[in-house]
């Protein structure tokens, strides 16, 4: 039984894969606790570069950039999730309709066009309509490319929730709004949360598009880090990187837990009983 699943060497390659993926991150995380001002020599364990991130000479710049990144990601993820939820309802709850295929292609478009092309096109667009580049242009660009990432988990979840629950509610004289709010939305929630988390991380992550449309003087965390790294990797960058790594790990863990919980959602329980 187990025989056909086993291939010699596959475990070794899996471990190689994980080493490749984690070694650079682990090394930077370790060196972020380096007490020495040199990035090459080890000067004992210390938290000085973490202190430097919050109180050092670059603290104000990185603080502002982090605030911009955070507020942008919050707004972009929330807007994109609302748009994607509405789209998923139309795509999966309204039966076949004309333009469904085109809508599907449109939703997935930001995943298919290379990032650098989106960046160039967005810059050209905003510059042509005379829109000053800055916070608002970044926000609009982020909302746009976050939509498919929010859509995927929501649509996947919606597909798994059968229409019978809403129909039962409607049969019992619930209005369409009530059936959505009291029945469908709670069942859909794990997908909505996963979608929001993914959109948030994607927005926080973005460098190329932001770098093109940000304009002078405006920084997000990735563009600030990029600007700093261009002059050489400094220890405070490693501390910031490790902090961002931690945020990503927390988000992925949250998404993972939400998904695991959703497997025991009422929808499946009712079905099996």
């Amino acid at each position: 039984m187990k025989g056909v699943r086993h291939y010699p060497g596959f475990l070794a390659l899996t471990i190689l894969c994980l080493v490749v993926l984690y070694a650079p991150l682990a090394v930077v995380a370790v060196y972020s606790f380096n007490g020495s001002a040199s990035i090459t020599e080890w000067g004992g364990f210390s938290l000085r570069w973490y202190a430097d991130v919050f109180t050092g000479p670059e603290a104000a710049r990185f603080g502002q950039a982090a605030w911009n990144s955070l507020t942008l990601a919050l707004m972009a993820a929330t807007t994109a999730t609302a748009i994607a939820t509405a789209a998923a309802l139309a795509m999966l709850r309204a039966g076949p309709f004309r333009g469904r295929q085109a809508s599907f292609a449109l939703i997935n478009l930001p995943l298919m066009v290379p990032e650098i092309v989106i960046a160039v096109a967005t810059l050209i667009f905003f510059s042509t309509i005379g829109f000053t580049t800055g916070y608002l242009t970044i926000l609009l660009a982020h909302i746009t490319f976050c939509i498919p990432f929010a859509y995927l988990p929501i649509a996947a979840r919606l597909e798994g929730v059968e229409g019978t629950y809403e129909q039962a509610a409607r049969d019992l004289y619930a209005s369409r709004a009530q059936a959505f709010r009291l029945i469908l939305l709670p069942l859909l929630m794990p997908g909505v949360i996963s979608g929001w988390l993914l959109a948030f991380i994607i927005s926080l992550d973005d460098f190329i598009i932001t770098n093109f449309v940000k304009g002078a003087g405006m920084e997000t965390l990735p563009t600030a880090i990029f600007g700093s790294v261009k002059q050489g990797i400094k220890p405070n960058i490693m501390a910031i990187s490790t902090l961002m790594l931690l945020v990503s790990v927390l988000f992925v863990t949250a998404a993972y837990l939400v998904n695991r919980k959703s497997r025991q959602a009422p929808a499946t329980k009712w079905k099996s009983s």
Partner: protein, 307 residues
């Protein structure tokens, strides 16, 4: 991540039929205005005349495409010949992306297979380990790799420490470093779609092959690979397409000799050296290449469904 292709069929109508318009309007408006319109505008820009200090003059010309494909000597008075500079950059990008795809497949397939054949309790944990780097900031991952492989970085130091090499391996600013960067950046993109395909694979097929005296590797080649092919093609697309237009890996890990499409485009929009119509034209050519790859994928998928 989403591979374009199969649209799930809609469930029965539960009262949303009359709302299709309002529900889809925000999607059409946002993606239409801030993505489709800009790409169309970019196409127009690639036929405009460049203005110094960035920007364009609204005079239609083929100058940008001419600059890409044709050279007439330094002073523009020689007979037209093919310009190889930019084609060479595209060619380098294509083989770098292709090599990264092959390397990711060689490591990614065994990893995906191994994870998909774990018992249900530990499978989630393995998958989780692959998923984390997928969501870690790509800039930070690239910077971390540069820190690891730089001349007096931990990798070279420890290799010299154990006496394997005498001096540091000059990795940074080489094609090899860029290759390593692309491979490292997009490796999770290969594992996840293949995992999804292997997870649905019916192992009874392998058992049947084994009963008929097929060797392990013959089974892999003749049975498994054809069945999980959609996942493999999906993974290859997800690695190849972003590698082709990658900016961070070539910019941070490479140098002047490792120039790729992403940096070429980026340069056209920076400062007074810029040339917006040329940048738009290069972006158009890149997008055309990517669309060809995706169309090929869609056709392969369609064939897989009918098979």
């Amino acid at each position: 991540m989403a591979a374009p292709g199969n649209i799930p069929s809609p469930a029965s109508d539960t009262g949303y039929r009359s709302l299709i318009g309002p529900l889809l309007l925000p999607t059409w408006a946002v993606i239409g205005i801030f993505m489709v319109l800009p790409v169309l505008l970019m196409a127009v820009y690639s036929f405009l005349t460049k203005e110094f200090r960035g920007g364009v003059i609204w005079d239609f010309t083929l100058a940008a495409y001419d600059q890409f494909f044709v050279t007439r000597g330094l002073f523009g008075d020689e007979p037209a010949q093919i310009e190889w500079t930019y084609i060479a950059i595209f060619w380098r990008s294509i083989w770098q992306a292709g090599l990264a795809t092959i390397l990711c497949l060689l490591i990614g397939f065994p990893t995906a297979w191994f994870i998909a054949t774990r018992p249900a309790q530990t499978r989630g944990l393995w998958l989780f380990l692959i998923t984390i780097p997928y969501w870690v900031n790509l800039l930070i991952r690239t910077v971390s790799l540069k820190f690891l492989i730089r001349d007096n970085g931990p990798l070279n130091e420890s290799l010299m420490g154990i006496g394997l090499i005498d001096g540091p391996l000059p990795l940074v600013n080489t094609n090899l470093a860029v290759q390593l960067g692309l491979f490292y950046s997009y490796l999770p993109f290969m594992v996840l779609p293949i995992y999804a395909a292997v997870e649905r694979y019916n192992f009874a097929l392998s058992e049947a092959a084994a009963d008929l005296y097929a060797s392990r590797w013959a089974t892999l080649r003749e049975i498994v690979l054809p069945v999980v092919k959609p996942g493999i093609i999906g993974g290859c697309i997800l690695v190849f397409v972003p590698s082709l237009g990658a900016f961070l890996a070539p910019d941070l890990l490479g140098g002047a000799k490792t120039f790729m499409i992403g940096s070429l485009i980026d340069e056209q929009f920076k400062g007074s050296q810029g040339n917006w119509p040329f940048g738009a034209a290069v972006a158009m050519i890149l997008m055309t290449l990517v669309l060809i790859v995706i169309l090929f994928y869609a056709r392969a998928q369609a064939r897989g469904v009918t098979r």
